[in-house]
């Protein structure tokens, strides 16, 4: 029994199990946000007309307005 005066039942598991879905979605939204920020940095306030991302070669092409 620790300082808390509680001896936890070690036979049960309280891990929250569904992290993957929402964490993956958060990562995806952050990725989109990063592309938007990159477009603003490269093209300025006018923004980009289109963005082509080549995931295989890690290259992104921004067509500015």
């Amino acid at each position: 029994m620790g300082n808390s005066g509680v001896l936890a039942d070690s036979s049960v598991d309280y891990d929250a199990k569904e992290a993957a879905i929402i964490v993956a979605a958060t990562a995806w939204v952050i990725a989109i946000g990063s592309v938007a920020i990159a477009a603003l940095m490269i093209c300025g306030w006018k923004g980009a007309k289109s963005v082509v991302i080549d995931w295989l070669h890690g290259k992104a092409t921004f067509m500015c307005r």
Binding site: Y14, I21, G47
Partner: protein
């Protein structure tokens, strides 16, 4: 920053705290009826937990705990333990909620990350929707921000895609969780849902191997199927952004089967224990056969 916030970040002065649903203090035990856990508690801790019954204001609870003989660190560790099992229900006013969100954001920007409160919800239709909404609230704020940024950057299609994605994700995650709850309830147990920040999980009694595998397979599968149906509807009505968003959401649900995450972890655990059991059975059978063959003729 007040004393309670500074030490834990879970509860704040002015909060009314109580024991979460499906938890019960009896004699020297804290029973969790959601998963059948029996936590052993000391006499002092029992008295302190007993007063939580109908809800008590944090400063009153603290005063009672100190009067019962708990030291500050013991009291904090008790709260820490309760939070680890989603055992504290907190009631606070809307104004206090907003103030705390603003405060926490400010501290996070300064590099101070406080513990988040683990909320426990009963496994009802409405509660599942509330739990999923709570887990996704930060993501929703982020999505709105990113969508605005995408519009400013001249990429409205990205904004639309993000907004559809989060809406489809919200609906299909409810379906995903609902499937876990249904399978758990089918073995006559009443599970609970625990939400910790972005993480959300169903706490239930130990299921049979068959049901556990079924639950780990069917949850993500129902998420994928419901996203695929929405995608097909989008495709049929020429709303290609819906079809595209559904495809992304299908990938997110499939990610639940990765061995490092919940459903995938449960599956790999069951497969490993099945293999161990199988190899044990095989060894036992082989040695029995050997005994039979090497026994006296």
């Amino acid at each position: 920053m007040d004393f309670f916030t500074e030490s834990l970040g879970i509860i704040h002065a002015g909060d009314v705290v109580s024991l979460a649903p499906r938890l019960q203090v009896r004699q020297r035990m804290l029973f969790d009826h959601a998963n059948g856990a029996r936590h052993i508690i000391s006499g002092k801790a029992r008295d302190v937990l007993n007063v939580l019954g109908k809800g008590i204001e944090v400063s009153q609870w603290y005063a009672y705990s100190i009067a019962s003989g708990l030291t500050d660190s013991e009291w904090m560790e008790l709260i820490d333990f309760l939070n680890s099992i989603g055992g504290i229900a907190i009631r606070r006013t809307r104004k206090a909620q907003v103030q705390i969100i603003v405060q926490r954001t400010r501290w996070r920007l300064q590099g101070v990350t406080l513990q988040s409160h683990a909320s426990r919800f009963p496994a009802t239709h409405r509660a599942i929707a509330i739990a999923v909404s709570q887990a996704m609230s930060q993501l929703a704020v982020l999505t709105i921000f990113v969508s605005m940024l995408s519009i400013i950057a001249g990429m409205p299609s990205y904004a639309l895609l993000s907004l559809f994605c989060i809406s489809i994700l919200w609906f299909t995650t409810i379906v995903h969780e609902y499937m876990h709850v249904v399978i758990s309830k089918s073995s006559n147990h009443t599970p609970v849902i625990i939400v910790r920040g972005l993480r959300l999980g169903i706490v239930h009694h130990q299921l049979s191997r068959k049901r556990n595998i079924l639950s780990a397979l069917m949850g993500p599968l129902m998420g994928i199927v419901s996203a695929a149906i929405l995608g097909l509807i989008g495709w049929a009505i020429d709303a290609h952004v819906v079809a595209e968003a559904s495809r992304v959401v299908c990938i997110f649900h499939a990610a639940s089967w990765l061995p490092s995450y919940g459903d995938g972890q449960a599956l790999s655990k069951e497969i490993t224990s099945f293999r161990k059991g199988y190899s044990y059975e095989k060894t036992t059978t082989t040695s029995t056969q050997r005994r039979r063959t090497t026994g006296p003729a």
